[in-house]
């Protein structure tokens, strides 16, 4: 293996901003390395300069902001899994984090890395989509916030500018009438990349669905929300007929592809089944 690329390790966020402003697209930010190093090892990552942000503790941490939780971009899956605050207020994110790789990956992989890597199969992404998360992006020009659900513009395409870095993600805590669910189908429970992945956040009063967010990964070029299915379910009363209609609606609403991990037919069917399973848990 040839080790051409250089790496600089800035000592604070200000230095990162300056480096990015100067080098832009030429430089690649590296955090836990669990995605980038795979690509680098395989020779499929054409990067000559890396900016290593792993030591920047100012990008770590899970903060209770009252109604919301702010998660620093460098927070690892292990830190999410172990956080009592996340366990209580965004349980689906704990479940999602447990399905990422295995312990070796969970100890090193970060939520910020999952977001900016922009894979349609990123395990935490449907949770962020279902929770209508907000992301915080910084550069030498300042800090801006954006709806997570607007962030991806196409397959591995985002609205991030070359001089910007992801700082944090912000999620609204579950309310007392709300629950969250996470569902991943892969070849095996550990290590596998998903065939489909689903996160649901739902608020109910009795058998009536007040609000619902259904987000899916691995069935489109980016993580998506199933808006038609959500419209069908919102303000409806849960019963067997509605669950059956929801199953059919979501199967038709998505446009998955056939690839090495699964087929279009399988993905449509299993997505419908997964939603039906979640909805039955509510009745």
């Amino acid at each position: 293996m040839i080790y051409d690329p250089t790496a600089v390790t800035p000592s604070n966020l200000g230095e990162v901003y300056e480096l990015l402003a100067e080098r832009g697209r030429r430089a690649k930010i590296i955090a836990g390395g669990t995605d980038l190093m795979v690509a680098l090892n395989a020779g499929s990552l054409d990067a000559k300069e890396f900016i290593d942000i792993w030591p920047l503790n100012e990008l770590r941490g899970i903060d209770d902001e009252g109604a919301t939780i702010r998660i620093g971009a460098l927070t690892t899956y292990t830190q999410l899994i172990k956080s009592p605050l996340i366990q209580l207020s965004v349980p689906a994110l704990v479940e999602a984090s447990r399905t990422v790789g295995a312990i070796q990956i969970q100890n090193r992989g970060t939520i910020g890395g999952n977001i900016v890597n922009a894979s349609p199969a990123g395990d935490s992404l449907p949770v962020l989509a279902a929770f209508d998360a907000e992301i915080e992006i910084g550069s030498i020009r300042g800090v801006r916030s954006m709806d997570f659900n607007r962030f991806y513009t196409g397959y591995r395409q985002t609205l991030m500018e070359p001089d910007e870095i992801l700082l944090a993600v912000r999620l609204r805590k579950l309310k007392s009438n709300e629950r969250s669910f996470f569902f991943k189908v892969g070849t095996r429970r550990a290590q596998a990349i998903s065939k489909i992945v689903m996160a649901v956040k739902v608020g109910t009063t009795g058998a009536v669905i007040d609000s619902i967010g259904v987000a899916l990964g691995s069935v489109a070029p980016t993580v998506i929300r199933a808006r038609q299915t959500e419209s069908l379910l919102t303000n409806s009363t849960l019963d067997a007929t509605l669950i059956e209609r929801a199953r059919r609606t979501i199967s038709q609403e998505i446009a998955p592809i056939t690839d090495v991990r699964s087929t279009e037919h399988y993905r449509r069917t299993v997505t419908g089944n997964a939603l039906a399973k979640v909805l039955r848990l509510l009745t």
Binding site: P5, T34, V38, D52
Partner: protein, 153 residues
């Protein structure tokens, strides 16, 4: 770039390109060939090592991120010529066949027992979910970790 870190209790300094993989530094620069390269993409766990108390895949860690860390590799498990109870149990249970996965299995098991000295069999399975073995079918590996835990307790 110059990296100073502690490997199995000994201070080491190496000079390596910043994006060189920790796995390659261990095997080529430090001649510690216990950690193996199975897949090079974080799937198989044969390169597992413990840094600052956390198990990671050394094939996915660039050496520039190792400044000042404390590293434990399979070579550091035995003390003063005495095998770690896990190594002893792997021998007694016949938990190794071809042996490629064994260093990673031992490291993941050590990481488990450090946090949880009396794991259930399910907890043992979870702890080695990131370590693939294509020979044993895992039963004897799980038996060995179970035995090591009861030996220590």
């Amino acid at each position: 770039m110059k990296i100073t870190f502690q490997v199995n209790g000994v201070d080491r300094e190496i000079d390596a390109p910043p994006m060189k993989r920790l796995l390659d530094v261990l095997r080529e620069d430090l001649r510690l060939t216990g950690a193996k390269e199975g897949c090079g993409e974080g799937e198989c766990g044969a390169c597992s090592v413990i840094i600052d108390g956390e198990v990671i895949n050394s094939c996915l860690a660039p050496i520039c991120q190792m400044q000042g860390v404390k590293l434990l590799t399979v070579e550091g498990l035995s003390r003063d010529g005495r095998l770690d109870p896990l190594q002893q149990a792997f021998l007694e249970c016949g938990a190794a066949q071809c042996g490629i996965c064994t260093p990673g299995m031992l490291i993941s098991a050590r990481y488990l027992l450090d946090a949880n000295p009396r794991p259930t069999r399910d907890e043992i399975k979870e702890a080695i979910a990131g370590n693939l073995c294509r020979c044993t079918g895992y039963v004897k590996i799980i038996d060995a970790i179970d035995r090591a835990a009861s030996t220590i307790a």
